[in-house]
Symmetry: C2
Subunit: 199 residues, 2 copies
């Protein structure tokens, strides 16, 4: 039989690699951290390098930037290439650990421009981060963009809490909603598998 | 600031690459497909190349094998490297599409040796597969191995159905449970981030 595929690579777009070289090392406040994430999401759409989502991993206490991620599903041809998977995996690679909460590591925080989808909620649980900061958690993302974000259990904040992951909602919310509205108006493709299935 | 990481690669273990070269091209029946998956999960533990989970993507109707995956979290240092993410991503790479249900492609099926975890349930929704076959869906996996599989909504089979993904449960169940029991007895590490959080 023909050889099966054996490896795949996920990478950030060139513009983000270039931009990251000029960023400060530390982002002391949550609004600064989310402003970066909202800006990257906006740039990702403008550059045509993926969907309107970005994420970053920081050291929670001093705000050291550890990794960045943007949605790369369409350019990479991989439905798992969501911003959170990118940022969490790049942080784990940088630190050499599949557990960002391993003994000896500083506490790590994931910052995202909305509530993670069903897949990325699970990815957050398994990553070892101790803190999740999101711009919002309401229906605006799905209603403005047309994306299917999948089901979370109604008790999702409790599920985080049970695993000792703190949750902060509502940082940089207006900027996040404005991007979703702009993306929705643009007619850009909604890249859920099979058109989101439900349509 | 030091350069941030910009890419990461996920690959299959060498033994699986070698083994796959000798596999038949087609697996006509569901028991044959799951027997392959159960065997790969068992071999993955025996080889020390990851956790007790495997997955494969097939063309649903004729059973053509499209991709294989095994859990690679600990060897790769990436918490997203679950068997389903490996198999789905490798299938998408082989087909050049982030949507395994794109127009013009044959119907694709994901076969896994238990109900996907919270992350991989979402990954299945976004992959474009039209069919999910699992060895079982009960508490045996968590109780026998100690893994935290995360929360799925109580309506998870409906969530699949709403997205036109068919579900088959209970193929090769005894072999799957036997592996989980053996893994649990072995004292092998449970690699949920931060020890599963809940412990």
């Amino acid at each position: 039989m023909p050889a099966l595929p054996t490896s795949f690579t996920l990478d950030l777009p060139d513009w983000l690699t270039d931009l990251s070289a000029g960023l400060p090392a530390d982002f002391p406040t949550l609004p600064q951290r989310m402003a970066l994430v909202n800006d990257l999401a906006r740039r990702n759409v403008a550059a045509g390098s993926g969907g309107p989502f970005a994420a970053a991993v920081f050291e929670r206490d001093r705000g050291r930037l550890v990794s960045l991620g943007v949605n790369r599903v369409v350019p990479l041809g991989l439905s798992c290439a969501h911003a959170e998977v990118m940022a969490l995996s790049l942080a784990q690679q940088a630190l050499g650990s599949w557990d960002l909460g391993a003994p000896g590591l500083p506490a790590h925080q994931l910052v995202v421009n909305w509530r993670p989808c069903a897949m990325c909620f699970g990815a957050t649980l398994w990553s070892g981060v101790v803190d999740l900061v999101i711009a919002g958690d309401g229906p605006e993302l799905e209603s403005l963009t047309g994306f299917d974000e999948g089901p979370l259990p109604a008790t999702w904040p409790d599920e985080l809490r049970q695993r000792r992951i703190a949750l902060t909602v509502g940082v940089g919310r207006d900027e996040a909603v404005a991007l979703f509205a702009s993306f929705g108006r643009s007619g850009a493709p909604v890249y859920n598998g099979r058109g989101g299935g439900r349509r």
